[in-house]
């Protein structure tokens, strides 16, 4: 029997790069570890090239349990980009904190591999294995700054809660397997269609547990309580990686499972999902206002953004899917940027994560100040930046699907969020005496990462049409 391995190409390339980085790490001297950055980046670029080359194909491997469609490739590119930006912005960070460089980059790459599997998996068990590959990597990344007690504390909390959520997910998949006789999404969907079995208790319980497990991963309220501590304690580049890539991977799985294959059940979960979206947005924004640390504020803001993204899942259909994918792109650019500026403020042992540390940054480091202002405005949803366009399409998809109330609550929430985002800008331009911030010469890679994020934020806001088309094509390729 011929096995088609093409769908595995980009992810295999990522794993190979990770293994080479791990191996090479053993043989090179400490002052030459910069080489590992380049190897990782070249590996990611090669994988990205392969994904581009494969664009438009529609094949499956291993009895269609892994699919190669534009949806999988879209997310592959997103994860590869996220990994590249994470590595760029951690080059200086890992040296300052004595984190083992080789292992750090290898773990970022291995988690990326898990994410790609999640987006490509057409089988619940494979999705689960991808999720675990990603999660175990990120648990370790969270605790890699061994000397710092907060990092270990964050790793422990993340691990215990993550493993707990894993148990829910796995038990849910077991029940679905029992009710449908298979974990293959296509066969589950046809079992749903044939027997009208979606009244069965076992299946409903399974879907419910799967739902809860995924809600933990995207940090939806009331499953969000771990997020602030974990994002706060983790090394800042890892927090950014979690906020963007881990969340995107969970949403990718959610979209493939619930928006496509299990969409006959849509009417049953619309109401709970809607409640989840409203709660997540509102609680995230309300708690973000009262924070004194910008890193914690960004953690709560990531919860609020998970709420906005849930709107797209409630809306569903073509417009919902398109809005989800586009917002994930915009969210990635602005969130990486905001965390990047936070990394630039770190000096030695002092993290400089409080609001007051941003005081006067706009004059001391004009580029950082300008970039941070852009990211904050974009996160708050000001035109013409990426955040505005993304939210516009999210709310529009809600209106198209007949959830006008959801769109209104979303818009009110964006207004609320302006309070804490603008506070950063006010600090940067109207107060004095904060942290110095790293100059360009001391952190060129980090500045490069921030510059890419600025370009992304502006480009997606001013010229959204190509990215919107891309999102639509990718989502349609599911069907």
């Amino acid at each position: 029997m011929e096995t088609n391995l093409a769908p595995l190409l980009p992810s295999a390339e990522v794993v190979l790069t990770a293994l080479s980085v791990l191996l090479l790490d053993l043989f090179i001297r400490k002052d030459e570890k910069g080489l590992l950055v380049w190897i990782s980046l070249i590996g990611l670029a090669l994988a990205g090239g392969m994904a581009l080359f494969l664009w438009g194909s529609h094949e499956g491997a291993f009895q269609d349990s892994i699919l190669l469609d534009d949806f999988a490739l879209f997310f592959t590119e997103l994860f590869l980009g996220a990994a590249a930006i994470t590595i760029l912005s951690s080059v200086h960070y890992v040296r300052e904190t004595n984190i083992h460089e080789g292992e750090f980059y290898a773990l970022v790459l291995l988690s990326t591999f898990g994410m790609i599997l999640m987006a490509a998996a057409n089988d619940l068990i494979l999705f689960f294995l991808g999720l675990e590959t990603m999660s175990i990597g990120v648990y370790i990344l969270t605790g890699m700054w061994r000397e710092r007690s907060q990092a270990s504390e964050a790793a422990m909390k993340y691990f215990l809660i993550g493993a707990f959520a894993t148990g829910f997910l796995l038990y849910g998949i077991a029940l679905i397997y029992g009710a449908a006789g298979s974990t293959h999404l296509g066969r589950i969907a046809s079992a749903l269609g044939q027997t009208k079995s979606h009244g069965s208790i076992i299946l409903s319980a399974g879907v419910f547990l799967l739902f809860v497990g995924l809600a933990f991963k995207v940090a939806a309220v009331p499953f969000h309580f771990w997020v602030p501590d974990v994002y706060d304690g983790a090394p800042t580049p890892v927090s950014a990686f979690m906020a963007v890539a881990v969340k995107a991977a969970a949403f990718a799985g959610w979209a493939r499972i619930f928006l496509y294959q299990l969409s006959p059940l849509q009417s049953e979960w619309t109401l709970p999902l809607k409640a989840l979206a409203i709660l997540t947005m509102t609680v995230g924004n309300l708690l973000a206002i009262s924070q004194s640390s910008v890193k914690r504020m960004l953690a709560y803001s990531s919860i609020a953004h998970a709420g906005y993204l849930l709107i797209a899942l409630v809306a569903g259909g073509e417009s919902g899917g398109q809005a989800l994918l586009f917002y994930l792109l915009s969210y990635a650019a602005m969130t990486f940027g905001a965390f990047g500026v936070l990394i630039a403020l770190k000096e030695g042992e002092n993290d400089h994560e409080a609001y007051s540390d941003f005081a006067g940054l706009g004059f001391k480091r004009p580029f950082l100040g300008m970039a941070m202002s852009l990211f904050m405005l974009s996160l708050a949803g000001f035109p013409p930046l990426a955040g505005f366009t993304g939210k516009f399409y999210l709310f529009r998809s809600a209106v198209v699907a007949g959830h006008i109330d959801l769109a209104i609550i979303g818009a009110l929430n964006s207004l609320l969020s302006v309070v804490y985002y603008l506070r950063v800008i006010v600090m940067m331009y109207m107060e004095e005496g904060g942290a110095e911030g790293k100059p360009f010469a001391r952190a060129p890679y980090l500045y490069l990462a921030i510059a890419i994020a600025v370009l992304g934020t502006v480009y997606l806001g001013v010229l959204p049409a190509p990215a919107l088309d891309l999102s639509r094509i990718s989502f349609i390729s599911l069907h």
Binding site: I125, L129, E132, I136, Y139, I140, G143, R146, S149, Q150, S152, E153, A154, A155, M156, F159, L160, A163, F164, T166, G167, F168, L170, Y171, I173, A174, L175, Y177, G178, G181, S182, T183, P228, D229, D232, G233, S290, Q291, R296
Partner: protein, 102 residues
């Protein structure tokens, strides 16, 4: 009385509830980890039982092996994190490890 699918499912559900209870009530990090293992194994019982009684293929039994492998990897990482916690805090009480605050 013949042992059927229902018996296994009930056993799995009981094990799941015990695991859930352990995770929610224990303060010791290793006990919480053991609760998580109980939950994973309750899912394993379901996989094997469904595979034997209702699906007519061996997929479920293979999944159980995947899950055992994964539980081992997770336990290794989890214990390493607990060890790091013990070195830094000299305790593995989940409630006592609390430096991250609002």
């Amino acid at each position: 009385m013949a042992i059927g699918l229902t018996h296994y499912l009930v056993l799995g559900a009981i094990l799941f509830s015990l695991g859930l209870y352990t995770v929610l009530t224990r303060r010791n990090a290793i006990s919480v980890l053991m609760g998580v293992e109980l939950i994973l194994n309750s899912a394993n019982i379901n996989y094997v039982a469904f595979s034997h009684f209702s699906s007519g293929n061996v997929d479920g039994q293979i999944y159980a092996i995947f899950v055992i492998m994964l539980a081992a990897a997770e336990a290794a990482v989890g214990l390493a994190i607990v060890l790091a916690i013990f070195q830094l805090f000299h305790t593995i009480d989940v409630g006592a490890v609390e430096t991250l605050k609002e």
